[in-house]
């Protein structure tokens, strides 16, 4: 398989993903028995709102009309207004105000995970601590988040969301995402084992004898594997952020998805899911770019002086 096949597949997947999410939803809606509008919000809950919903989302015009209308608006970031979570408010504004909290949460947890992985690879984090990270990682995110939420509630009160308690909730959220469900343990072991395997290669030994550093020789070769791990972890954290944000009361994208699902706010959930798909696409494209850049760097021929 040529080296460019994998990055190409990733770029294709990055383009397909934002088209796939609404397509999947359309397929599910029309595959289930009953009218799509009734599935989204049954008449006994929404009353006449079900008919409005049907017209608003072009559900009465068939699956293709629904898909093309929704996607056509989505590419202009026009998701309409919230149906039930914050009736009348523009969904794009709700997403824009929720996104920073989720990004901060992911950045905090990524800093923790990448910092610990770098320390472990450099030999500054004792290997003897590995069982500890693994043991902590056995705990599900919901339980760790509950412990953190209990601490904040007991210390600062149940409605402490601003100032330092708000920041503390964010820090705890990042910590939980970073260590729960085996994230930290597998990141440390994964990164360390990738480097350890690479260091055993013959070319590294020769490079050391030439006076070159181990890192500058191994890093280009392990970059694709590290990029893949990085994408997997960010995706895992994005998924876990739904639980962490709800338990710790952080107003992020995950909280929006949860509220929208509970209240059957179809437009909001669909838009939030699409936002997640865009983030995932960006990660795929980033991984493909890193793979291409690394391949070019590694394959670059050294300049050989012409024979006299």
């Amino acid at each position: 398989m040529p080296w460019w096949t994998r990055p190409l597949v990733r770029f294709a997947a990055a383009i397909a993903l934002p088209l796939l999410i609404p397509a999947l939803i359309t397929i599910i809606l029309w595959a289930l028995p009953g009218s799509p509008a009734e599935i989204i919000c049954p008449r006994e809950i929404c009353g006449s709102g079900t008919d409005e919903l049907e017209v608003h989302f072009h559900l009465n015009e068939g699956p293709l009309a629904f898909y093309t209308h929704w996607l056509g608006n989505a590419v202009q970031f026009d998701f309409g207004t919230s149906w039930r979570v914050a009736a009348g408010m523009r969904v794009s504004e709700m997403l824009a105000s929720a996104l920073p909290a989720t990004v901060q949460l992911i950045l905090i947890s990524m800093t923790l995970v990448m910092g610990a992985s770098a320390l472990a690879t450099a030999g500054l984090l004792p290997r003897q601590l590995d069982p500890l990270w693994q043991a902590i990682g056995l705990l599900p995110a919901v339980i760790l988040a509950l412990i953190c939420a209990a601490y904040v509630t007991i210390t600062y009160g149940a409605v402490s969301f601003d100032g330092w308690p708000g920041t503390l909730r964010l820090l705890f959220g990042g910590l939980v995402l970073g260590v729960a469900d085996g994230t930290l343990g597998s990141a440390i072991q994964g990164t360390r084992s990738i480097f350890e395997e690479e260091v055993k290669q013959r070319y590294v030994g020769i490079a050391v004898l030439r006076g070159e550093s181990v890192l500058s020789n191994t890093l280009p070769n392990v970059m694709p594997a590290l990029a893949g791990q990085l994408r997997g972890r960010v995706l895992h954290m994005l998924s876990g952020s739904v639980i962490v944000e709800v338990v710790l009361g952080i107003d992020g994208l995950g909280q929006l998805v949860w509220d929208g699902t509970l209240k059957q706010d179809f437009g909001l959930v669909l838009a939030a899911a699409w936002a997640y798909a865009l983030i995932s696409s960006a990660l795929l494209a980033l991984q493909a770019t890193i793979e291409i850049a690394t391949a070019w760097y590694v394959r670059r021929s050294p300049a050989i002086p012409e024979a006299a």
């Binding site: 397909a16 999410i21 289930l32 705990l139 639980i243 998805v257």
Partner: protein, 276 residues
């Protein structure tokens, strides 16, 4: 302790834990018993074996009903992941190029979806009377499959892939023996069992998380009916002990013990199935 004894020991623990889960599920009452004001929030010493909740109901019913909610969906989810992983491993060994490429495209696309978000969307789209853990668990299993497939295919690749199969064919073994015994049972077993057990555990944790969030928001759960209690209810009762000092520490400890049993079962499956 040699490796064989260790595997037998861990296998016994795994079977025991699974037996406890299925036993609890099989004996679960359909509905919650009535409230008893005289037995509110009493400990295991007064009401055997786990004490009562704030309404005087035995926490044993919580454990039983919670086990019934998760037992079948989690086992089915584990089996689905095992099937996907086996398919990916066998495909790599069989050397069928188009199938391998197709599976890789599936892994790339499905693996790029944030699982919990997709689960939320599926949950929202399900008709109200279909809202149980089963469709959620099956969705989760499909979304978790790419990781298992990737690892199984990599293991098969390290084994030698199609060359390994050719070598065994040269020994005169039949295709059934090669793929089922040599490839799957002897070499892919550890990966398949571990991934399946982990997904079973994830489904249980997912149920706990979804039910807890719904209960905390005083909303109906996506995973079970209102007249049954999930293990999340134990944690919710226990949380009131943490933040409001209600005498319900025993509920928290029972909830954590059940979570611990699930973790132990997963680890036991992993260790019992590890490669020689």
């Amino acid at each position: 302790m040699n490796a064989r004894t260790s595997r037998i020991l861990w296998g016994s623990i795994a079977v025991l834990m699974l037996g406890i889960l299925l036993g609890l599920a099989a004996t679960a009452p359909d509905r919650l018993p009535g409230m008893d004001a005289s037995l509110r929030a009493v400990g295991p010493g007064e009401v055997f074996p786990f004490g009562t909740d704030r309404d005087g109901r035995s926490l044993l019913v919580y454990a039983q009903q919670g086990a019934r909610i998760v037992a079948l969906p989690s086992i089915l989810a584990g089996l689905i992941v095992a099937a996907f992983a086996t398919l990916a491993g066998l495909s790599r060994c069989a050397g069928i190029g188009w199938l391998d490429s197709l599976l890789q495209a599936f892994q790339e696309l499905v693996g790029a979806l944030p699982r919990l978000v997709v689960v939320m969307v599926v949950t929202m789209l399900l008709p109200y009377d279909w809202r149980t853990l089963l469709p959620i668990a099956l969705t989760w299993a499909v979304l978790a499959a790419p990781a298992a497939m990737d690892e199984a295919a990599a293991t098969a690749g390290r084994l030698g892939g199609a060359r390994f199969v050719e070598a065994l064919r040269a020994h005169g073994f039949t295709a059934g023996r090669i793929y089922l015994y040599h490839v799957t049972l002897l070499n892919l077993r550890a990966v398949i069992a571990r991934q399946a057990a982990e997904v079973m555990m994830q489904v249980v944790f997912l149920e706990i998380a979804l039910s807890y969030l719904a209960e905390a928001g005083r909303e109906a759960s996506f995973t079970h009916t209102a007249d049954t209690k999930s293990w999340a209810s134990l944690l919710y009762e226990g949380y009131t002990w943490l933040v409001a000092s209600l005498p319900l520490a025993h509920a928290m400890f029972l909830g954590l013990a059940l979570v611990g049993c699930v973790v132990l079962a997963t680890q036991a499956f992993r260790l019992a199935a590890r490669a020689r």
